[in-house]
Symmetry: D2
Subunit: 346 residues, 4 copies
């Protein structure tokens, strides 16, 4: 079975494990207050051109999202998200469990539009009963989104302006950030993201680390006492250095982007092949997640050799599925998949 169903199927890039080996018996203080974390923080601040940013390392995405939003919102405030947003759908209500409503607006290809956010806020504050409704106070976006799409520089600038207008905090979930930055359609870079967002993270788990998300906080109010929040939410790793060591290794010389580019090249190869076969897509994704709509008969044959994620029944005959590439995907496996698709479809 060759697996394409997600981008967290393997362990970590070999250099990560080697570095963990090398540093294994060094003694360090716990909880992220070690020299490895400190060096990784410095690298991230430099890459983001954000010398005043606070950088924290957390283990996973749901934990990071819940910790950030719990720290950012007052009890009567909520966060606006696209209805496909990870926090709105796939975190078992972690945001609500910390007391906050996820205000889900209909996304367009997984994205929020500055106009709809602004209109929602305008209506909220114009409503004579607005004290009876959850106050919008943050905007959650992911880039790439859960359906693989990207925000442009203009779109993010527009969202920033809306956030300023309505006093909203802008939070970007970058669980797959590298796969976004490596996309042929990307218009962003880390300094721009660090400039436009109040807080965002650079994903590690899906990008070649064993685990880990590097959270970058620019907003001064959110910086205050953030380590209390991490500890309370169960996200303060005792051997915090494991996160610092991994992020230092993958970021210090460009490995992060190299691995991302590898995944994107293979995703684009697969996409082009599917297009050439006239296969339609659920969404036009320029990143490492591809969502072709395939005949069920094709899928049942394919499923004997390859795993993929089932997304949605499109009609009686066809289903939208997801193929992911990643830092670990082998080109030969993609080539084999393409050959088999050609044979099955033509």
């Amino acid at each position: 079975m060759i697996r394409f169903n997600s981008d967290y199927l393997e362990g970590a890039h070999p250099r990560i494990l080697e570095r963990l080996m090398e540093t294994n018996m060094a003694q360090t203080p716990g909880y992220g207050e070690d020299r490895f974390c400190e060096r990784a923080r410095d690298i991230i601040r430099a890459l983001c051109d954000a010398p005043d940013a606070d950088v924290h390392f957390l283990v996973g995405g749901t934990q990071t999202n819940a910790t950030v939003l719990s720290a950012a919102l007052l009890p009567y405030q909520g966060v606006i998200s696209a209805d496909t947003g990870h926090i709105a759908v796939h975190e078992t209500g972690a945001i609500e469990a910390s007391g906050h409503k996820v205000i889900a607006l209909p996304g367009r290809d997984g994205k929020l539009d500055a106009g709809q956010v602004s209109e929602y806020c305008r209506e909220h504050f114009a409503d004579e009963s607005h004290e009876h409704m959850v106050m919008p106070a943050a905007v959650y976006i992911s880039n790439p989104t859960e359906v693989g799409t990207l925000y442009s520089r203009d779109e993010l600038n527009a969202l920033r302006a809306v956030c300023d207008r309505w006093s909203l905090l802008l939070f970007l979930d970058g669980a797959r950030l590298g796969y976004g930055l490596a996309s042929p359609e990307n218009t962003l870079d880390l300094p721009f993201i660090a400039g436009v967002c109040d807080v965002f993270y650079i994903g590690g788990t899906k990008q070649g680390l064993l685990f880990g998300e590097a959270l970058v906080i620019q907003n001064a109010a959110l910086k205050r006492n953030f380590r209390y929040s991490i500890k309370q939410k169960g996200g303060m790793l005792a051997k915090g250095r494991l996160l610092g060591i991994q992020f230092e290794e993958i970021l210090k010389d460009g490995l992060y982007m190299e691995l991302s580019e590898h995944a994107i090249a293979l995703a684009m190869k697969l996409k082009a092949a599917l297009r050439a076969l006239n296969v339609p897509f659920l969404v036009d994704s320029p990143t490492n997640q591809q969502f072709p709509i395939l005949p069920n008969v094709v899928l049942s044959m394919l499923g004997q050799k390859y795993s993929y994620a089932t997304i949605k029944q499109v009609d009686a005959q066809r289903t939208a599925v997801r193929f992911c590439t990643s830092w670990a995907t082998r080109e030969t496996d993609v080539d084999r998949l393409i050959e088999d698709l050609k044979a099955l479809i033509q």
Copy 2:
């Protein structure tokens, strides 16, 4: 100014205040453990033909909704509601504040359909990632709904069957229950409601009391230790007898339904008059809330003498508004409103 904007504009029916006067200096234990509450509970159990029901008295609706759902749901569970449901819109996130997602499904005239609830649950449990999503565990409906519509006996039976199929608790918010039962289109009665729901309440605040909601619990698991929940949520009134005294008075000899019928008669009179003027409605309501769509020019004239609630801009020229009648509405005021509407529209 004659106010029609809500059904909680005045104090209480005079008999309620008189009874509070009569009983004022009696000494009783606190927290609802007095003889007045006990008698009111007995009356309610008899009216509902529900001898084993637990009956609790709470002060207001948001408090009651949050207390019930907090007691009914496990941390990873959520409640299904129509997207217009009070808990989904107008309680400042009280349900989320107790940790639970309100799963808002698109309502049809403010109502949930058994089919859509069933389909949502089927999809949830069929999803390979269902552990990553909030588990649906309760259904919240209101009757009359927030837009004045009613569930039929068949619709509630169908919802009950779906709840049994998917292990959901069925909770009916009856903040305006009397106005529903008094409607010409009503097909329900208290014993039916008590039989079909796990828990529901008989509204007092909008029905002639100073304040108060009578919660009727049929579900055995929900009954357990419910008073701890009431106390924790801040809903245990020290002088709980005030609730018992009021409910006993209004329920003991039919005053509750008499007042409800009064409000409905006036609402139907207004509705008929608006229809005769060819005024369209946002929703066809058979209860005490009427939602006509009126020209803005008419409204600006009307607003000098009458208050109403603004619901929604329908187009550049017209706005949907709400007129409420209640136990306290005077027929002469409705007649005057009708006269003025005729003068303005014709």
Copy 3:
């Protein structure tokens, strides 16, 4: 049975009910935005010499405590309370239910001492692991305390200084505030309390109203959006005017203090009689709650005619109990109690 077990055994002072009668059919907007509430707010601001205070009316004490502390604390912060504090013992974990630890320090006669609060804070911030511990951020005191004792002007000034030193919010629960102000040992007044506290409330439920607590907020940060918090916590009464009408009536011409003085006079009469009988006390209370330690044989006789609250088994033969007087206590009942005590003890 003559009841002395609490100070919320009866309804309300007759003037309160009469005023509710008079205003009953007036139409007002809901949720505390009516003219009665506005006038009551003005009276309170004047009595407190606090022209910039925000005043909100809530139904009960647990609700008020939970709403204030939920609005005042960040998720990782807790509130310091005496271990006998109402929030630490008798609110079924309402504070914890909103996410916050009650940091219970050993009280001295129900009171917190500025020194112990300061030492706790100093130790917290000196601890190398303080991020792993709940950050103290508020101090909750009650005056009179749960055991009837009073803070002096000096004690409150000292607490204020400690709060300033450690950035703590000072919150005074005044559920029985009048009974404190009317005590022969009282050194406080409303303007002093309003000056020294960030937030406090003037109790109504135990002081002659049907229900209601008047919350006075001086702290600017806490003022912001407080109505959202009230609504979310289920404390926004639909017919909010009921609270305004009652507080206006009891505060407009000194009735509040008159009733408090009545209760205190009777409590002091009872206390003096018990002292004369050489009855020891669990705590030396100068307010309306008296805690004599009585032989069980005396109590079993007494219990046939009078109700009291059982506080604590002191030894095999004796039990500490509580007798409360209130605005509603009749002097003849106190006299009869004293006679019976004399007969039983001598």
Copy 4:
């Protein structure tokens, strides 16, 4: 600097890292549903003689404690803990953040006594106001405790009986379980623990893994839908196999106990040496944490070469500190420490 301040100063035992290397490029499903986790579960069930146990792997202790207690308690319920318990002191209020009071009883050498738990419950349910208080519903203990002490078989049997009597769930935090089982004073084994507790965990982070705690659930009600809870609390590791791989490796052939025994042998050597020097201890610990009380002058010299944790100022001249040994401690380092202590003290 030779560090003795905690037992999580290094990475992992070399065999753990080697095994992660070997399995690195294997593709597996995520979230703990892989073959490595399944095998590790089977090993744990066998070691515990608990064929029906559910076993889950979580990343850290605070997360595990909060997830278990959040799943185990109803909103109005709390957990009893010794006042030195990790959940009562060192988790930044994580239990309160999920809505529950930690009912802290005074510990004896860090332990709860069955008698005091029983008495607390008896008093709770006997109190006429018990609905106004948090209902005790679980008991949290740690073994070894936070101060290194151990429960005996008899003590745990007595706690079990009390839990049965009062319907309490018994939860044992085994973050350092191996160091307890390897102690010369230990009377427990895994099957006994699995038989006496409703839920407990076998610590990995402090016992030779990079990270990880293996949670063993015996209580049928707690088993239900536990994976939803893990996901919601942010504890579901995407590459869950990392936990399975580590636990399989350390448990499959006795490495876990071998490493524990190593740490205990060195701790006992240090303890004996300190005793021989007549150094008093804050608590008499038979496990890997030793709490000597040392003169400040000695500590200031020692601190130049060794790190330790400062626990508590005992008097003006002396401080209680903590030295930890672990799976990674080198005997030569302990010998050197002993030599230096001898030189400084004699």
